[in-house]
Symmetry: C2
Subunit: 316 residues, 2 copies
């Protein structure tokens, strides 16, 4: 088939400061890809028009293949049923915004909204580190900690079809208070900003103002204070993974996000902490691996969601 | 219809020291019920024969209705696919025991094996406190903490179709070491024995040798040390519920088990701790209620599992 004639879906990965758009084929290859900065604070109207323009740019770059659907993985809680973004924590000004309607009107294709953690997990399950797994949890150590669970290609959903917020697992009541109200959540103990907070608290002059990436680099170079920071944060990262196993008993846990730059070299220690718990699950039942798709995971997963409309949960 | 002609399934709730057997109709009523002590240490052969004899006793008591299937909810990890009990923690001597084969040979009906926490959850979802919920978590505060999740009538299962072990959520690394290897699991902090341990540690002479039921009674009578014990344990019980919400975002959490005798009067405090976290989930999305079926939950749920063979997970 002439490539330009092969139908595609658009996958959109929408964050608070960046948006990624890709055209995805039914076989899971990416035909065009754009990453652009995104100023959520300018409001939903301009933001959605910018997304539509990026989709059109991708279509032109790919020789104008037929677009059949669009999937969008968006940061923060959302109403999966109505296609609305429900909460403005990470998209300021996007409170209760209808994402689906305007994009459907603009691009004249069905639009499916997903949480970004769910989209990344679907991407890794479809084309990445979770391929073939009957049950998979993806954990993204970024600005926060995103967790999504995929079973037989379906995301786990809770009440109101919301995805759970396992980044807010309580793991240590002596830890810092989280914005969610809980003292000792996983997220402030092990997401990227935890590395920066611990670096600051170390008082070490080399770590003054260090980013998570700086800490990772210094740890890699053998800097003792950076090593202590990474050891503490990666231990807390592993304690949360104990709870991921306790909650979901997944075949595989896929780890991604920017903080993996720091945690990568501690992966065996983290695996040992997880393996030291849960005697009920035979060792090796849950593999812990790194994500493979990087920036493409969210776009591929959003495309997957658009290609395969999720089964509705039968009413009881 | 003559009641004696209405077909029934047998539901079996098998614990380490007690076994309950009931005959359950398709509409969910119990036609006969027997509870008996059970000495798991005598081995699997005599144990399975005892179960078959109790089923026959129930059939005679109900006027010998046709038996069409048997479901058995058993304590401890098991292999749901092969019908084998996999782990002897709570059924000593029952390591890798085929439960299904001998019972099918003896009673000549299909036998389905379930975990006991899953069976109790199915029972409460079918006929008890979880009726009508699209997603439900049942938490049993007994000798351990059992957790099972039911979505649209299907139990959540992880790798190898095992049910997860959320009783082993890490909730406080400064807590006691659990037999699972983790320091600060939910189970040793909030199951029944936690009340006994805290009573012992209080040093109060009135609490010397107190059982969980004694502690509950003294707390109810206003005894200050008992009150402190129940306050501490129920706070830890609630901290684990924070993780149940973070993991599963269920519509309803059903609480059961012997320690509810102590926790019942703290339920509003426990609800407040859970409501104080998880800003992403609108308040009221997760109701926390007490179980309704008591000893009948496991029998009804095991019967439900036998009546409605679970959907197999499609291979990916």
């Amino acid at each position: 088939m002439n490539d330009a004639l092969e139908p595609v879906v658009a996958g959109v990965d929408l964050g608070g400061t960046n948006v990624r758009v890709g055209l995805v084929t039914a076989a899971g290859s990416i035909r065009a890809f754009r990453s652009a900065s995104f100023d959520a604070g300018r409001g939903a109207g301009p933001g959605l028009r910018r997304i539509a323009a990026l989709v059109r740019t991708c279509l032109r770059a790919a020789g104008d293949p037929p677009l059949v659907a669009l999937g969008i993985g968006a940061t923060g809680p959302l109403d999966w049923c109505s296609g609305r973004i429900r909460n403005p924590y990470t998209l300021p000004g996007w409170k209760d915004v209808d994402v689906r309607g305007p994009l459907e009107a603009e691009l004249r294709v069905p639009v499916r909204l997903e949480n970004d953690a769910v989209a990344a997990a679907l991407g890794e399950w479809w084309q990445g580190a979770g391929q073939g797994a009957r049950s998979m949890a993806m954990v993204t150590f970024g600005t926060g900690i995103g967790v999504a669970v995929v079973r037989a290609g379906e995301p786990y959903r809770g009440a109101g079809e919301a995805h759970p917020e396992a980044g807010h697992f309580l793991v240590d009541p002596s830890g810092p208070r989280c914005y969610c109200g809980t003292q000792g959540c996983w997220e402030p103990l092990a997401a990227g900003p935890a590395l920066e907070r611990l670096a600051h608290e170390s008082g070490d002059p080399d770590l003054a103002g260090a980013t998570a990436a700086d800490v990772a680099r210094l740890d890699h170079a053998g800097h003792p204070a950076a090593r202590r920071v990474v050891a503490a944060a990666s231990r807390h990262a592993a304690l949360g993974l104990v709870n991921v196993v306790a909650a979901y008993a997944p075949e595989v846990i896929v780890l991604g996000g920017g903080a993996m730059g720091a945690y990568r070299r501690r992966l065996d220690e983290m695996r040992a902490i997880v393996a030291g718990s849960q005697p009920y699950l035979p060792p090796g039942d849950t593999r812990i691996v790194e994500a493979l798709l990087g920036d493409h995971a969210g776009v591929l997963g959003a495309g997957y969601a658009a290609l395969r409309p999720a089964r509705e949960v039968p009413s009881s």
